[in-house]
Symmetry: C2
Subunit: 330 residues, 2 copies
């Protein structure tokens, strides 16, 4: 069959066929193959769990697609929490008429990215709704990880700590925007969409206090959350922000602030000053952290305040994202 039909979501014969010919074919593993109402997994004394739905439009973009994004987004939420990502659930809502080839491409991408990140898809669900009731395909991934001795969290942040980022900012946001608006750049902007657990394994050491992936709302919103939770101020240095020339150009042209653009393969990492150099070095030695830099520091001051030092020496307050600039970025 070339297109998804309502009966693929019936729970009946066609649902079973889809499971066998697509999900088990690409994603099969001993957990998924249990094929019961719930999957039994090896646990730990403490586990980490996170959930995310993905509604990105368009489905396919430079550097990824909704399937890759769904795996990366959930793996990264676990990894920045100090957990080892282990298991994913995969729930699909499909629009009647979706080309089977698109679904197959997405599922292949889920399989490849899960394999890269070292996680298994352990159970799933497929619903099909009538044409017009959903825009092509939405995906939910829920992730389960094992808690490690990586104790991280905003409550560990102290004045004097340094704020690092693992690479350029805004790539995912501009990649989606340019795809949607048909913008052309001399060097096309590619989404940074990537699983970060390997990078984090490479640089993590005691002295790393807190990690977050600045997705929706961007670096600005994430740092506002952290500064609020930690009860500290933060001072960012604008001239340190790593931007590709295309992203910098697009932001200038469109009047966008890169600090609010979504990233899907970057981590903000707050570290004690004495380990900052060592952590940066390890980041830069990893393919996903080559352009890691220090972008600011934690200060005493009004809790929750994030200030930006401009190249001319001025300071301005950077708040949370207001409104919605770029919907359906993830």
């Amino acid at each position: 069959m070339e297109r998804i039909m309502m009966a693929h979501g019936s729970g009946g014969r066609l649902s079973h066929e889809l499971i066998r010919t697509l999900f088990q074919k690409y994603l099969g593993n001993p957990y998924l193959d249990q094929m019961n109402d719930a999957t039994v997994l090896p646990g730990r004394e403490n586990i980490a769990v996170t959930t995310d739905s993905f509604v990105v439009s368009p489905l396919f973009f430079r550097g990824g697609n909704i399937g890759k994004l769904a795996v990366c987004g959930t793996v990264n939420d676990l990894a920045v929490s100090g957990a080892i990502p282990k298991f994913l659930t995969l729930a699909l809502i499909l629009e009647e008429g979706l080309p089977m080839a698109d679904l197959e491409r997405i599922i292949k991408s889920v399989a490849e990215t899960a394999s890269e990140a070292g996680v298994s898809v352990v159970c799933g669900d497929t619903k099909v709704v009538e044409r017009g009731s959903v825009d092509k395909i939405f995906i939910n991934t829920t992730g389960i990880g094992y808690i490690t001795n990586r104790l991280v969290g905003p409550e560990r942040i102290r004045p004097g700590d340094e704020i690092l980022i693992t690479g350029t900012i805004g790539d995912h946001g501009i990649a989606i925007l340019s795809e949607r608006e048909g913008l052309e750049f001399q060097t096309p902007v590619v989404s940074d969409c990537a699983p970060l657990n390997g990078l984090i394994d490479a640089f993590f050491r005691p002295g790393v206090k807190c990690m977050r992936d600045p997705t929706r709302g961007g670096v600005a919103t994430t740092l506002n959350e952290l500064a609020g939770q930690a009860g500290v101020s933060m001072l960012l240095d604008e001239k340190q922000f790593p931007l590709t020339p295309s992203v910098a150009g697009a932001c200038e042209m469109l009047g966008l602030e890169p600090l609010y653009l979504a990233n899907e393969g970057k981590a903000l990492v707050i570290v004690a000053p004495e380990v900052a150099g060592e952590v940066l070095q390890k980041m830069r030695a990893h393919p996903l952290g080559r352009q890691a830099v220090r972008i600011g520091r934690v200060e005493e001051g009004k809790p929750g305040l994030v200030l930006l030092e401009t190249p001319l020496g001025g300071k301005r307050i950077i708040g949370m994202l207001e409104g919605e600039h770029l919907p359906r970025i993830c």
Copy 2:
């Protein structure tokens, strides 16, 4: 604000407000209140996990709504697997313009049902898409449970075992259908939507071999799956099927086979013959199992074959659901 706006899904200020004024207000608990990228939970040596998306239409129906259904569906998948449901994740995809009052009613219902089932909502996600990109609201719930010493599964089923059901069949399917088609019955059909873990706690004992909740695809499809996985035949006795008069009348009028209708508060339970009486007694002593009956038995024979014995003594093969009779039932 009276309606959901795109900015409620931005990850920025309005997203935070929605979390505080709605999700934390109704669902708050120490796990959810961690408010990190992932939630840390107490684990066990083995855990059970299941995921389901809910796209039911209409959102509100006699006996429940999409929020109650999302909790019940996931709790029940864990409970019939022999696990103790503990934690739920809750991911919402909202259509721009959704009345805030509808969302609040749904979230209140999630809270009440989670409380009834003894589970905590531990993390969540909210996406908002433009008008027309989703039909009002879709919900994903992923559930995590603790594995118990309740060893159940189709591989334990043997010829001679008895097939029980905890009550009337087809109520959810007909409730949704009548809501959608504006059908009126003398006694309105109410969805059976309910969390089953309490009922299962009440009747479970050694000798219970396998449990399933016959949702999409109904009793027929579920028993076909089990018969196939167990490599046995099953013989059902049509005159034993418990049907409310309204469901029986609706099926007759509309030419529907109740065996294929969805249930959202029933379990199929396969037991060793020597405990069948005792299990039925315990079921009937519980409010959700008053109409529990034996509907058939497991036989040697062609693996996967499910036969129905009609009141006139004939036998016919009952296959899996073909096509899709009633889309968006859950």
